[in-house]
Symmetry: D2
Subunit: 365 residues, 4 copies
């Protein structure tokens, strides 16, 4: 996770409010600009970009589903006090890539005269656990299995009683996002911690933003990796020929292949972002899928090939290439999977309507 200093810098420069409406003091960036910002941050640090993106997507949910009072309250936390928000969706027994189902239960609080809720469950991949001020926890109302009727997002303060983490996050890449497992046991939240009516979270065209932002992150990592390879190839002179590696035709070939495919992926990403505002939820799913699929394939290929082009030294930790590979291989595991994306893009081309996620309880598409 980015250091406190860098978070303060991001806040000071307004980027924590990138997705907060201008009326609430945020930057209210259009999607094209937002994607460019995330991609730019990712060129420097994919982990920071990921946490900013998770935070920003929570902002979008608040904007889409929150009451005026909720918006005032939570946006002020961000804009005025630099608070960070995380989103906890994954669970140990479910694969979001297959079906969106939450087993974490949210119930009305029976205690006394409370009109609040109690949350119980286990979450995995809890990005920014221990580091943010609020976590948007994805739950099922009363443990129901039909997500269209039961899916609820609750904003849980980090200091709420009953949150415990195993504190473990030892992974291939994206290590600085610190995303351990978290257990919520009888966590009490007030009534106004819940966003919108049950089931709304998958209907308002916001859940699709996750994937679009991931695409921007993969693109940024790949750009930085390729830039490193180009720089290295230009500077490294090998003997006995005494010419730069950049003059090697096979290196030129590999760089050309990477550059051409990355260019194409960036264009698709830009096009998807540019079309976002006028798209409905289904169309946003397609736009995000196209961008995420192409940046996934490209970033995996580029980060692996960059190491190959650089050679043995490409695996040194003092150079950024090996981290780019690890981060991309890890970050591209976020849902939806390549398989699901391909099927969804194909369905769209074939005129078969499909949402980005198979939602438990809904007819499967």
């Amino acid at each position: 996770m980015a250091s406190l200093t860098s978070w303060r810098a991001l806040w000071r420069d307004g980027f924590l409010g990138a997705a907060v409406p201008a009326a609430h003091g945020g930057l209210g960036l259009d999607m094209a600009t937002y994607v460019a910002v995330i991609r730019t941050i990712a060129r420097g640090c994919a982990n920071t970009a990921m946490t900013v993106h998770m935070h920003s997507t929570v902002m979008r949910f608040i904007d889409a589903l929150g009451s005026p009072a909720q918006k005032r309250r939570y946006f002020a936390e961000v804009v005025e006090r630099g608070r960070l928000f995380g989103s906890w969706g994954s669970e140990p027994a479910v694969s979001l890539s297959r079906t969106l189902l939450m087993e974490t239960v949210i119930r009305h609080d029976d205690a006394g005269d409370s009109d609040g809720y109690v949350v119980d469950g286990v979450k995995h991949f809890c990005t920014m656990a221990l580091g943010a001020s609020y976590y948007m926890v994805w739950c099922a109302l009363d443990g129901g299995g039909d997500m269209a009727k039961c899916l609820v997002q609750a904003l849980v303060p980090a200091d709420a009683s009953g949150i415990a983490t195993d504190g473990r996050w030892d992974t291939l890449g994206m290590r600085a996002t610190f995303s351990p497992s978290v257990t919520l046991t009888g966590v009490r939240v007030p009534a106004d911690a819940v966003l919108g009516a049950p089931g709304m979270a998958v209907q308002v065209g916001v859940i699709e933003v996750f994937a679009l932002g991931y695409a921007a992150i993969y693109a940024g990592i790949a750009e930085a990796a390729l830039a490193f390879a180009v720089d290295y190839a230009k500077k490294r002179i090998v003997r006995p020929e005494n010419v730069a590696v950049a003059m090697d035709p096979t290196v030129q070939r590999h760089v050309g292949e990477m550059a051409a495919h990355l260019d194409a992926a960036l264009l698709v990403l830009g096009e998807s972002a540019a079309g976002w505002e006028r798209a409905d939820a289904l169309e946003r799913g397609l736009l995000a899928n196209k961008a995420k699929y192409l940046t996934t394939e490209t970033a995996l290929a580029v980060t692996s090939k960059v190491i190959q082009v650089v050679g043995g030294r490409g695996a040194y930790k003092e150079f950024p290439a090996e981290r780019a590979l690890r981060d991309v291989r890890t970050a591209t595991l976020m849902p939806p999977t390549v398989d699901r994306m391909l099927e969804a893009i194909g369905k769209s081309a074939l005129g078969v309507e499909t949402a980005m996620f198979n939602v438990a309880g809904a007819p499967k598409t």
Copy 2:
């Protein structure tokens, strides 16, 4: 080759003047529109698109290199009389993919008081041979080997004496372009048949248009092939399941993969075309290479996979898929090769200056 009727229709609708300046009665299309037109024609017939594109590129050479008198004369032939122009560059002993060299010789005519020229040589892949009114023949002045000083384009009338063709064009695809071998023996042309000063043909940012137009053709073929597969998959019901092939997840997967990559290639093509007018010759080489490389790879993959998705019937000649495969596999052999494109794109990314073609006599890049 498109029938006479279709040529007349293209002329009537103005498309033979697509690349003729408006001041000379043509459409004077900007490059983005031109590429869209070629791509659209290719969706219907790749062969027609190819011949229109060859013709149009000759128009661009006349516009870039011709004298005012030459422009008036040749553009009028097209706009007013619907004459077709071809371009003959390839030669049996040279590989343009490696080095641009012409062994066809053009010499000042020694006969009497002529100020004209005599052309001798053999050309391969002479698109529209026997079908056009003029052929732009690529020659070397006095047989010199330094193309920067000797390359000359001569506009030879189809009925000039000394032109003989073997009339053979039996190929995998692009069969209707009818592109046999032609031998020119002592072909006399007037002084004003020659365009510009020797060596200019590779310096004015026109030779790069060939590749950009090819990219538009590959894209159009792939679009039509995919549209056929989608239509077929939606309509074909198989027993005993009694569901459309479109409902098969693996078919959706394949269609999704084709659609995503084709979308990306089309964006790159559009971007390259949109940036054309403000680009210099080197930049145009890069724009065209990126578009041609990505459409080549995509079109080869799409046309092969479409047949696989459709299954056994995909190979029937009554369906368009098998012709799409044959046309793409043939048309993508036009220079520059994939290898050369990748090297050139890579050189550009690595800051090594390079032209689209290695020109004989020039230092190799």
Copy 3:
């Protein structure tokens, strides 16, 4: 289809009896030798190899399912008289790649005191239609849908009354196999035309031979195509460099890639063939799938790349490369599909039992 002369030559040399047991006068080749023979024939002519393979696979069904009397009778037709057998399985409304179902009906003949059968139905892709003496027609007894109980193979003489063909076979490749549609209307066959008990055809480890032989054919085509490219590259000298194309590093790279992958595919093919005799039906399905999958992918890649390496002339019909591409792209459409093969290989690795084909009426695996 190979000419009569070549069939006579194949008969004279014993190859029509390649899969006929030695006890019946055939060569009784072990599978490794058989596959080598088919592959060798395919190097010369894929169409001949395909028809020999279809014929030979019918021989295997007779050997596995036939009564002693049937074996004596039909093997003698082949060994002594050089008769050819075809196999007609495909049908217009079914996709064998999805489910093996036959809608062609075979019924006990009600006429008089006949103990024979009547066959009614439509078959597609009837290889050697009009050219063979007998056709093994895949039928469902009384039109039942449970293939485990109803699948029946009847050997129908070519001159039986009620056989009509549309005579159409105009395809991308494998054109010489002449495989039109055939309609059978009230075709009467004697009782001893039926092989084995209903449902046996998919249980005796013979249906899997189809795919193994296809793999040999794809391999043979690819070998011949690569050999052509190598020969061409060595002989073709290009100017102005005056060196053979074979000296071009990118050509070496492409040839190396093709050679390495083809080598691997040939090893897998050989290994599958070598393990055939000791394998049961399920294992044979896996052996054949591995060989067919790898030769499919390799042959598609090799035949396309050979044309690319050779360049424009690679598309000329006077060279074998373009036919290799057309034949491979067509022949690799034979079931099972790449998708089905990958799933089946994966199931085997995952310990999920699966047969080569999904058989209608059986629980889907």
Copy 4:
């Protein structure tokens, strides 16, 4: 690096003498068995396999080039005392993938009446630095540039005066091989530390063993990674479907693809090993290149896809998949590169003679 304990175990079981002739007390394994051993070790630990392989290849050089006295002496160190040998070839300013050139200088010792040598230079990627007893250091006699005349291998004891290491080895993968940089300054070695005559090291068919053993290591890593994915997919049950991931058709597809390609690569590896003894140096180069190329491509694809199939948890360090990816991506950087291998395989197919390495001073092939 494997712990001391594991080295003792390997010694006790005879594996440090895997490549030591039986006449000298080693196992004297034939190449097929040796490759199987390295592959098996790599399934458990790629780093141990790599160090055993480096050590064993030094044994082969001693066997091929050493005098009877040298063999007696050094083999006894291994067999009787369990000493480890390393090989230091790489240098900072040279790319072995391009040209084999050594800038580390070995000179006759001028001091007193010594008939020994002095070594000066810098080596990179010094596997087992600090951990072995002897290092085979690749040098140029008197700093000459023609390796065919000057290449010399000297066996330097670990405790020789003048060896200094930066002790840095912080890399993506193969971390336990501990392969830092080493500087040799005026390191004195006795006359009998040098193996064979100058230039012999690249002529005796041993240098090619490096690549064959690497191939065995890549194969072993990939096998272990796939086995993990298969096991995980069979055991992990996801809700709400409550079925094992192994039942997912796309997982089956991916596993099938990995299994098929890995099978093929293993066959090629086995075939190359089986043909080793009867092959000359050029043929060994080809055998090793084919095995290394196919295992490289397969292992890179398999280790990346295994993580994808497993999903988010695939990146956890508690599972072996992420280490497999890191080790393969790092280990496959060892020379020759994919580019060089493809060119060399292609040259062989095209009849252009080529050695595995371009040796400085030799005519480039």
